[in-house]
């Protein structure tokens, strides 16, 4: 292997699939698109290209969501992908960019420290001081380059940057141009330019999207895994992989316990029991699949280093309570109600009831 990169971009890994799809694609393409919208959907959902090349599924889930996302980009509306951690937002956005524009590398990672200069343009101050404002002294951002080239640009974790900086995007999204008042000039986006943003919809303590900006996005929410079996499968597999990577001491298989974690998370997340008979209070945390995985890992570590060598109720209890109770008043209430009405009465969950009660 000669490639020195730790991780390759989507368009490099799947270059063969992209080529095959482009070759067999005779449907109409929007301006500057590398392939037709139908081919983009096929690329992400998997299938077979016209020449028989198998296309792997990049996203496992509802095809209609991806169709909505692609149709949004085709109508030159900006796309916002919302979802819990671990729902493949960034993954989907990277592949969309790779398929539509042929490159997924135009990314702006939004953080609390991101300022307007990183969104619009910055200045090469040496040149600015020497020659005054000029096009040469401009430092172009990925957004500006995308506008000039007519490609997609990705904004990761949009809501992590300040609201005032977010609003810089308003003109870009509605007028498709970016004024440069210092030069009395503007950059006009070429056809094919568009924005894919991702954001977490349950995180507390990040900036809200202003309604002015929100209106300029079509929003697609990527849901957590649809069925309990699917989610249990994902969590079990990921726990095994991560635990092995971390070289945790091996323990007895814990599939049954992980199934309980997933069930408990799903019930508290959805606000009803799995059988749908009882309504529950929901908790303030997101209880995402990613968190279920981390509870599984912590319980493994605890069981292996301090416990009986197998994940059991006491090993899970403290981690579960820690994951569920984020707000000391409301979440304790919800958990308390859940314990009394569900856990206590469920067959085979007595040990969990006792263990969690001990921790609380």
């Amino acid at each position: 292997m000669t490639d020195p990169r730790l991780r390759q971009s989507a368009e490099d890994i799947y270059a063969a699939e992209l080529d095959a799809l482009k070759r067999g694609d005779d449907r109409q393409r929007p301006a500057s698109w590398a392939m037709s919208p139908q081919a983009v959907v096929d690329y992400i959902m998997g299938g077979t290209a016209r020449d028989g090349t198998p296309i792997s599924a990049k996203y496992v889930g509802n095809r209609r969501l991806i169709e909505t996302a692609v149709a949004t980009l085709a109508t030159d509306r900006a796309l916002l992908l919302l979802g819990l951690p671990g729902t493949a937002k960034s993954w989907v956005s990277e592949h969309l960019a790779a398929a539509v524009s042929g490159t997924s590398n135009r990314v702006i990672q939004c953080t609390a420290g991101t300022d307007e200069n990183q969104i619009r343009y910055g200045w090469n101050y040496a040149l600015l001081l020497a020659k005054g404002p000029s096009h040469e002294a401009l430092v172009r951002t990925p957004l500006m380059r995308a506008m000039q080239d007519g490609t997609l640009v990705r904004l990761e974790e949009l809501t992590r940057m300040g609201s005032d900086v977010q609003d810089t995007l308003i003109t870009v999204l509605s007028e498709k141009m970016m004024p440069i008042p210092e030069l009395d000039d503007a950059v006009h986006a070429r056809p094919g330019f568009n924005v894919i943003a991702t954001a977490n919809n349950r995180d507390k303590g990040v900036n809200e999207l202003s309604s002015a900006l929100k209106r300029r996005f079509n929003v697609v929410v990527l849901p957590p895994p649809a069925t309990i079996a699917e989610e249990t499968e994902i969590v079990t597999r990921r726990v095994r992989e991560i635990g092995t990577n971390l070289a945790l001491p091996p323990i007895a298989p814990a599939d049954k316990e992980i199934a309980r974690i997933v069930m408990l998370f799903r019930e508290l997340r959805s606000g009803q029991t799995v059988d749908g008979k009882l309504k529950l209070k929901t908790v303030s945390g997101s209880l995402s699949t990613a968190e279920a995985i981390s509870v599984g890992i912590s319980a493994w570590a605890e069981a292996a280093h301090f416990g009986a060598g197998a994940i059991d109720a006491p090993a899970m209890a403290a981690n579960l309570v820690g994951a569920i109770v984020k707000d000391p008043a409301a979440d304790v209430l919800a958990l308390e109600e859940y314990l009394e009405n569900v856990v206590r009465k469920r067959d085979g969950w007595k040990d969990l009831y006792g263990a969690i009660r001990d921790v609380m």
């Binding site: 919208p37 509306r77 079509n218 929003v219 697609v220 009405n341």
Partner: protein
């Protein structure tokens, strides 16, 4: 087949079929229109042209002596049958209904009810895939990759000429489908048998019509039946099939229908998944001016936006435009000419709801189902509920009279219970013939007193209730269920549960209980929940002189109690005196109810919570006074512990006003606590004596209220104890026993022992 017969295979309630059918009828101009429907409806068909007839409507056929056995033939304005009727009436053409008579259908339905239930469902599960589950066109659509029959029909209309050619294409598709289905073993046997008889009726009716009429004849039937009508079956064979069919006496009437009932596949024919959407489609296809996909999408998205705005969501017009564009782009992506419901939904979600399914769900019901309730023209005779009421009146021996009169019912007798059930059911459907006088009725008593007064206006209320059902029982249950769906208020729902139990509607009661459980979880109002528990416990405990679903109700009480127990402490902190008073009252009722309910772990939890309330510094004094009293009365805390908390609440830094409220709430209900438990009296005494004049005067009204409940003797005895200066001397209940027993009690003891048979 005679070329004068023109078969039009339609999709029941399909706007696309309706539009194509009207166009085809205009082109053909037949002399006679035959419609799939029970012949009993023929005399009623003429009313369809009246101005006051506003769909959704239904023709109801019911067994004369048992209205609960009924079938409905519902019509929306976009139902092809309705459009065919209106077309014929507007041009003065004759109409005939050619399906089998409802007399047989009702008898058949009744026989089916008596079969073991798996005959209907089990078949469908065992057989490979059920060839036709609902509408055959839906199935063709699924095969062709469309979301439903309407989307497919749309595509057909787009690609071919509406009219005869189109119906021919559908006929050949259905013929294929039916032979494939027969090759697979057919539908369930009962359905095969039923369809064979129905189709024999239709063939005979068509034959008769051809004989009577010289002009063209249009036959409007479900697409499924077209091949069977076309089939050459000897007349004798058809006649043989009709022999020996059971029948019952049938009455028929027009009844108002509603969008939501149209949506449920009840009774007759296929249900409609989304009446609101179908109406929009009908406006596109049946409307006079042709409509572009753009206008179609924009019209729908504006409707969504309007509903969202009513729910308080800010939706910009710009977003509506984007939603329409997205819907059209999605349709193009999926290879469809006009956006279907799936595309509209996805677009709405992304562009109008910011991806938030919850916001969409707020409007979904109104959007897809609509809220339309049909109206029957006043000239049309309609009365099945009135007939049912008349039967009830005969059974109960209750005559409708204008004059007011009171009746007393003994619920232990069958007659009394029957009358009470009827009156409670009528109250539920808002026909207030009787008014229940004693509010406590149904709570551990066997008596109810009603004041009866009938006025003719009640007949109107009765007719309005038809939307919910055709018998008083069905209507009452239906209305209770509908109300429970609309209400999220815990108090209202608890009332509905009780009303359903009183009206002997156990199934509706169970649904209301489920709703109540859901609403209780959402409700943040603990006081309301606490007030709900006693109502439910009293139903459980004393019953309603009728069977009740005690297990479910018990589980609900336990769930509510768990929720209250979890939140009571937090709810008692930092509240206004007025709220504290409401909470105090709710708590004492709840405490009693919980004790009656008698689940040890819930009571233990409640006591832990009470202790937490007492121990929390910022609990409202009125609440924590009661909490302490309950801990004391329940003997959860020893008297020393109670006394310690008591004096902690009274001494500084507690403000005098707070201490006063605490004392008032602690003392409410009886002097015994002070007489028996001297440490409490001592603490109270010390506190009172330490008050400065100003605070004392300020607190006087509160103290007076606290003591005013005490009986005279109680007050006298407290005065005696305080006056004799023995408060401090006695330090516990044990010491007090010996000291305070007067000599005359000792003298009486030997005799008492003899009476009770206790040897010393």
């Amino acid at each position: 087949m005679d070329p004068r017969a023109h078969l039009f295979g339609i999709r029941h309630h399909g706007p696309g079929s309706a539009a194509s059918l009207v166009a085809a009828l205009d082109a053909l101009d037949p002399a006679l229109v035959l419609i799939e429907g029970a012949p009993e409806a023929e005399p009623l068909a003429g009313y369809a042209a009246l101005a006051g007839m506003q769909p959704p409507l239904a023709i109801l056929h019911y067994q004369a002596d048992d209205p609960a056995n009924a079938i409905f033939a519902p019509f929306a304005e976009y139902s092809p049958e309705w459009q065919a009727m209106r077309w014929a009436l507007a041009r003065g053409r004759a109409i005939r209904f050619i399906d089998w008579p409802a007399a047989h259908a009702l008898a058949f339905g009744k026989a089916l009810d008596d079969l073991p239930p798996d005959d209907e469902d089990g078949e469908a599960h065992d057989a490979p895939p059920p060839p036709v589950s609902g509408d055959p066109l839906d199935m063709l659509a699924t095969v062709a990759g469309y979301t439903d029959g309407e989307a497919w029909w749309n595509a057909m209309v787009e690609s071919s000429q509406p009219g005869p050619a189109m119906f021919a294409a559908i006929e050949s598709a259905i013929t294929e489908l039916r032979s494939a289905s027969e090759a697979q073993g057919g539908l369930s046997p009962w359905r095969e048998a039923r369809d064979a008889v129905r189709e024999a009726f239709m063939r005979l009716a068509l034959r008769a019509a051809l004989k009577d009429e010289s002009g063209d004849i249009a036959v409007v039937v479900g697409a499924w039946h077209v091949p069977a009508l076309r089939a050459k079956v000897p007349q004798a064979e058809d006649r043989a099939r009709l022999r020996g069919l059971d029948k019952v006496k049938v009455e028929s009437a027009w009844v108002p229908w509603s969008d939501s009932r149209l949506a449920s596949a009840s009774g007759y024919g296929a249900g409609v998944t989304a009446p609101g959407w179908y109406r929009h489609l009908w406006q596109l296809q049946g409307g006079s001016e042709a409509s572009s996909p753009e206008a179609f999408a924009a019209g729908w998205q504006s409707r969504v936006a309007g509903l969202l705005r009513e729910e308080g969501h800010a939706v910009a017009s710009a977003s509506t435009i984007e939603a329409s564009r997205l819907a059209i782009a999605l349709a193009a992506l999926r290879g469809e000419a006009t956006p279907g419901l799936a595309e509209m939904h996805d677009a709405t979600l992304a562009a109008l709801c910011h991806g938030d399914e919850v916001a969409y769900r707020l409007v979904e019901r109104r959007l897809l189902f609509g809220e339309r309730v049909g109206a029957v023209d006043p000239a049309v005779p309609q009365m099945p509920l009135a007939a049912d009421l008349e039967r009830w009146q005969k059974r109960c021996r209750l005559k409708p009279e204008d004059l007011e009169r009171e009746i007393a019912l003994d619920l232990r007798t069958e007659a009394g219970l029957l009358k009470s059930t009827l009156l409670h059911r009528l109250t539920l459907i808002d026909v207030p013939w009787g008014r229940l006088l004693d509010a406590e009725a149904g709570r551990g008593t066997f008596r109810e007193t009603w004041r009866l007064a009938w006025n003719p206006g009640l007949a109107v209320n009765l007719a309005e209730a038809l939307v919910y059902g055709v018998t008083i029982e069905q209507a009452a249950a239906g209305k209770a269920v509908a109300q429970s769906r609309d209400s999220g208020d815990v108090g209202v729902l608890a009332g509905l549960v009780k009303a359903c139990l009183l009206a002997d509607l156990p199934e509706a009661a169970e649904l209301c209980i489920t709703r109540l459980q859901a609403a209780a979880v959402d409700s943040g109002d603990l006081v309301q929940l606490m007030n709900t528990v006693p109502t439910l416990v009293s139903i459980l405990r004393y019953g309603t002189a009728r069977p009740i679903p005690s297990e479910q109700l018990g589980a609900l009480v336990s769930a509510l109690a768990a929720e209250i127990n979890a939140g009571a402490q937090a709810a008692a902190v930092d509240i206004e005196p007025g709220e504290a008073e409401a909470m105090r009252r709710a708590m004492s009722g709840y405490d009693r109810a919980l004790a009656l309910h008698g689940e040890a772990h819930l009571i233990a939890m409640w006591h832990r919570e009470l202790a937490a309330i007492v121990q929390h510094d910022r609990s409202a004094p009125a609440v924590s006074g009661l909490a302490l009293r309950l801990l004391h009365d329940g003997q959860v805390w020893a008297v020393e512990e109670v006394a310690a908390s008591f004096s902690r609440a009274l001494t500084p830094p507690a403000a005098p006003a707070a201490a006063g409220a605490f004392v008032e709430s602690f003392l409410a209900g009886g002097a015994e606590v002070l007489i028996q438990d001297r440490p409490l009296l001592a603490a109270l005494d010390t506190w009172l004596c330490a008050l400065d004049d100003e605070s004392f005067i300020e607190l006087l009204p509160m103290l007076r209220r606290g003591f005013s409940d005490f009986a005279d003797t109680g007050r006298q005895r407290i005065l005696g104890i305080v006056g004799s200066g023995t408060i401090a001397a006695a330090s516990g209940p044990g010491a007090q026993d010996d000291d305070a027993s007067p000599a005359f009690i000792a003298e009486a003891l030997p005799l008492l022992r003899t009476i009770l048979g206790i040897t010393p």
